[in-house]
């Protein structure tokens, strides 16, 4: 979920948070990504992406060449 908030946080700045809606029981959970946690999240995301790239066949030229 953090992923979505991270995506939306600049678009809808200041950040409003997001709301998880569990259809099964109607439970609602508000989710926030506080400023101080952003950096950690970015590192984590970056690591995950690198990991995923690593598991793919090594690439050819980059987009910008």
């Amino acid at each position: 979920m953090k992923f979505y908030i991270y995506l939306a946080r600049e678009l809808f700045c200041p950040l409003l948070g997001a709301r998880l809606f569990y259809l099964k029981d109607g439970k609602v959970q508000d989710v926030f990504l506080e400023d101080e946690l952003v950096e950690g999240f970015e590192l984590e995301l970056s690591a995950r992406i690198e990991e995923a790239k690593g598991r793919s066949t090594p690439g050819t030229e980059g987009e910008e060449g």
Partner: protein, 955 residues
């Protein structure tokens, strides 16, 4: 209404409402007295198409309210599409279309864009100068060739009616010499006569040329109508008095020709309603005459008409009005039609924060920085805004509303965006991480991101069009630089023709000749992809509509993703989306692709302003000129670049209106000679008058700028600069005490204490005082695994939400650009699990809130409707009922209700943002604008994804 009506309406006093109301009243009065009347009897002329649209909308609403039981109102409502509500040129065009053919006017005449008629004007002006040697000789004694050409061009475009109606100034006027040197005076008088003759010859030639090409310009339509009314008695008989009511909005910006047309059309029983505000007349540079407004008022008064002054302000916070009332009563001194009567605020209820709403943003030298620092210090804070409300009995009042300030609440208004001013502000704002948008620096179709894509239409219409090819290749669509383009051209030059000789091929055909290593591989790939898309479209270009071509090209080029990558602020993306909203208009523009292309920059698309002004997608500060802001309002306005100086140099000619015994008198025209005139001459008086009028105009531009604010006004100010005439700076200097050049922030002048506050931006740092967000404890669920799930083109797609499945990497090589995306986003790439009931629920909820749909209206366990979704077919009826049983329990859920009653709901809203070298793409299930955002520009959006992990959480 027995006589004419004159409505003087200061900024924010509900002018559009008053005009619409008057329009409807005309019918009300007629219905009451049993008079025959229909929409063809009433004309309402506005200044812009946008204003015409707003007015029409409001009138339709008012008529709709009355249409209930009365068939006359219902008939009126159904005939509104034929109503004469529009701009003056569309009005003139419609009359010409009706009566023109019988008077020999081409009914196919179309108003051409400046890019079409300007070259014609220039050519004809040059030709006129060459062919009229005898006229040129006296002219060259007082003016250079360049200056003469400039005068002819400016005259054609802005003052044609006035020049044609003018008489040349003689060597003396009323006993006063034109110039102190008798020789210069005589030469000038001769040149003035010669200029008017030359102008008339050039004008005739130009009109003939344009007529042969079947085009005209804005004033051409008006002139044609004027000529028709003046020179064709049968047309005049037919048209004069045909309209029983003529309503003219923005009359303060009306020019000589427009006034003349209204006068010619008016019959003995015609009633005219003049509406406007002398303080908002800011189109003098286009020939507007604010004096006509004053004259109209005097005439209405003397002919026993009614003069109304609207003085209740519906727009701004009362404290803000304290400022504008006080400040402008000093600026527009004296009463009369051009004076400034104070406006009265609306009553308030629950409005708090009565501190000054007008701020001076002081920065020693950098006004752009002052604006940026100020914005940064406010965004994210809670602020008390005002909101117009009605109590149900028709009483309007202002209610207070606390909410956070967003970037989109701000508009920076500048007098002129010239010489890189827009860039300077953009840079200052971006330096502080403030998303911003400079409005209308270029036309919509001139924006690189739009031009790059749209040029494929030109290219398909004519593959040899190298200009279009170069535009596309240099644009974000391909992203080549000039060096690459030169290389491409170079390769193309080696293509051999069939006869063995060199054959010049179009740029687009040079692409296959490129060799490896010519340009960077990434660009090469995009170049080849462009060629590929082009080839595919070329085969079917006659079968596809322009909008379909654009859509296919955008998809083939992965254009949206590209734009998001190069423009993190998303304004390019917003423009791109806007193009598609408007693309259908292209389909209707003309029958053939070639014609569509030729009409792209015509007036029919002028309304397409670059995205941002009203786009809630772009949370960005707007930077625009005062003229662009006319008619708009913003919560926070920063009037910036107040130390702008008027460029040196004078206009090429001057006019003076001669007061005649009857009517308005005629214009006296003179060129400006190289020799400066001294006091005691007509020329000197005319120059003085011109300067005085210019100064008056700048008071009005400042008035328009400051009155755009609803909640907060800020005005940037630097230490006084000495050089040049600085009209705004001089006007504003009265707000503060003279500072003696210390560089310290000035103090508020005694008259404005408690009304204006000085903010010292030189000493402020952006992070200072910005509140940290969120008082609640953050909840941070685990980040799901990221797995690569497939590849398209060179993009590796990664899903953040796939949990434990093994990667389905196809083994093809990835590029460095990646998209992490919700697995719902691309259903082709992840096979549907047929028993996934969560997904079914998700599909049902897709329609929730759209077009006001409630969950109950979508179905229930008793009436288990199946969503209109292909994949929904995979579920059987029992499963469908099971899902509905769960959804039924949610019908009264607070969140469901919130979505149902939301102002605006988007489903599967895609968000793209760059992440280092990669791109993150995600779709939010439901995005809705809640109550807080209701009522216009101050919108707030809550990203709210309902079934977040469909299966997992639902089961």
């Amino acid at each position: 209404m027995k006589g004419d009506l004159f409505i003087s309406a200061s900024a924010g006093t509900g002018k559009t409402f008053a005009i619409s109301e008057r329009y409807v009243e005309i019918f009300e009065e007629a219905f009451r007295s049993g008079e025959e009347i229909d929409v063809g009897d009433v004309v309402a002329i506005t200044f812009t198409r946008k204003a015409a649209g707003e007015m029409k909308e409001r009138i339709v609403g008012m008529i709709g309210d009355r249409a209930g039981a009365d068939p006359r109102w219902r008939d009126l409502l159904s005939s509104i599409p034929f109503a004469w509500i529009g701009t003056i040129d569309s009005f003139a065009g419609r009359i010409l279309l009706e009566v023109g053919p019988s008077a020999g006017i081409d009914p196919g005449l179309r108003v051409a864009a400046a890019s079409i008629y300007r070259p014609i004007s220039r050519r004809e002006a040059l030709r006129g100068m060459v062919e009229n040697e005898d006229l040129l000789e006296p002219l060259l004694k007082v003016s250079g060739l360049d200056r003469l050409l400039e005068a002819l061009m400016i005259g054609e475009e802005l003052y044609r009616g006035k020049i044609l109606a003018a008489r040349p100034a003689g060597s003396a006027e009323g006993g006063v010499p034109l110039h102190q040197d008798p020789v210069v005076a005589a030469d000038l008088a001769e040149a003035n006569g010669a200029f008017l003759s030359l102008f008339s010859a050039v004008d005739t030639a130009r009109l003939g040329k344009m007529e042969r090409e079947g085009v005209t310009d804005f004033s051409g339509v008006l002139l044609a109508l004027r000529d028709l009314l003046v020179s064709r008695p049968e047309a005049r008989r037919h048209l004069r008095g045909r309209f029983r009511y003529i309503i003219v909005d923005e009359f303060q910006d009306t020019d000589h020709l427009q006034t003349e047309i209204v006068d010619l059309l008016r019959g003995p029983d015609t009633r005219v309603v003049y509406v406007g505000d002398a303080k908002q007349s800011i189109y003098r540079f286009r020939g507007a005459e604010v004096e006509a407004f004053g004259r109209a008022r005097t005439e209405v008064e003397s002919s026993c008409g009614v003069v109304r002054t609207l003085d209740k302000n519906y727009r701004s916070h009362p404290r803000l009005l304290d400022f504008t009332n006080l400040f402008f009563s000093g600026i527009f001194r004296g009463g009369g039609p051009l004076g400034c009567a104070p406006v009265v605020p609306l009553p308030t209820d629950g409005v708090e924060a009565w501190e000054p709403r007008a701020k001076i943003l002081f920065h020693r030298e950098d006004e752009a920085m002052a604006a940026a620092v100020f914005i940064k210090s406010l965004v994210g804070r809670d602020f008390s805004f005002v909101e117009r409300r009605s109590d149900g009995d028709g009483h309007v009042f202002l209610a207070g509303r606390r909410r956070r300030i967003y970037y989109r609440d701000f508009a920076i208004l500048i007098r002129k965006l010239r010489g890189g001013t827009g860039d300077r502000y953009r840079q200052a704002l971006q330096k502080m991480g403030i998303p911003c948008y400079v409005v209308g620096e270029s036309g919509f179709f001139d924006l690189p991101e739009i031009k790059g894509l749209v040029s494929i239409l030109s290219l398909l219409a004519d593959p040899g069009n190298d200009l279009a090819a170069a535009t596309a290749l240099l644009s974000p669509a391909v992203g080549l630089d000039l060096q690459d383009l030169a290389r491409l051209r170079f390769r193309g030059n080696f293509t051999d023709g069939e006869d063995g000789g060199r054959l010049r091929v179009g740029l687009i055909d040079c692409i296959p000749q490129m060799e490896e290593g010519d340009i960077a591989p990434g660009r090469m790939k995009r170049l080849l992809r462009y060629r590929d898309v082009f080839d595919r479209l070329m085969e079917r270009r006659d079968l596809l509509k322009p909008s379909e071509i654009l859509k296919e090209a955008a998809e083939g080029l992965d254009y949206e993703v590209r734009l998001a990558k190069i423009d993190p602020l998303r304004t390019k993306t917003a423009n791109f989306r806007k193009l598609f909203e408007a693309a259908e208009a292209l389909d209707e523009a003309a029958p053939t692709l070639r014609e569509v292309v030729s009409r792209l920059d015509e007036s029919s698309f002028e309304e397409l302003a670059p995205a941002s002004v009203e786009s809630e997608e772009t949370d960005a500060v707007k930077v625009m000129t005062v003229h662009q802001a006319k008619g708009l309002e913003f919560p926070v306005v920063i009037v910036a670049e107040t130390s702008w100086s008027r460029p040196a140099g004078s206009p090429p000619f001057l006019f003076r209106r001669e007061e005649g015994g009857e009517g308005e008198g005629e214009f006296v025209f003179t060129l400006l000679p190289k020799e400066k005139a001294e006091g005691g001459t007509v020329l000197f008086e005319m120059e003085e008058e011109e300067e005085m009028r210019e100064a008056e105009e700048e008071k009005r531009t400042l008035y328009v700028a400051t009155t755009r604010a609803t909640d907060l006004l800020a005005i940037t100010l630097t230490t006084p600069k000495t050089r040049g005439s600085r009209p705004w700076r001089d006007l504003l200097s009265g707000l503060v005490e003279a500072d003696g050049g210390s560089g310290e922030a000035p103090k508020v002048g005694p008259a404005f204490e408690g009304i204006v506050e000085v903010v010292d931006c030189s000493a402020m740092y952006p992070s200072e005082g910005v509140p940290t967000r969120g008082e609640r404890e953050p909840v941070t669920p685990d980040l799901a695994l990221i797995d690569p799930i497939g590849l398209t083109h060179e993009n590796l797609r990664i899903s953040p939400t796939r949990l434990s499945e093994e990667g389905t990497n196809q083994g093809r090589p990835p590029g460095s650009m990646m998209e992490a995306e919700d697995d719902l986003a691309d259903e082709e790439e992840e096979p549907l699990e047929p028993k996934d009931l969560g997904r079914l629920a998700h599909q049902i909820l897709e329609r929730l809130g759209e077009g006001g749909r409630t969950l109950a209206s979508l179905g229930s366990a008793e009436l288990p409707t199946r969503p209109l979704h292909l994949l929904a077919e995979r579920f059987d009826d029992d499963e469908l009922r099971e899902v509905w049983a769960v959804l039924d329990r949610l019908k009264d859920h607070e969140l469901v209700r919130e979505i149902e009653s939301a102002e605006e709901v988007r489903t599967e809203y895609q968000i793209i943002r760059p992440f280092g070298e990669d791109l993150l793409v995600g779709r939010v299930d439901k995005l809705f604008r809640d109550e807080e955002g209701a009522g216009g520009s101050s919108t707030s959006s809550s990203p709210t994804p309902p079934p977040p992990r469909r299966g997992a959480s639902f089961r």
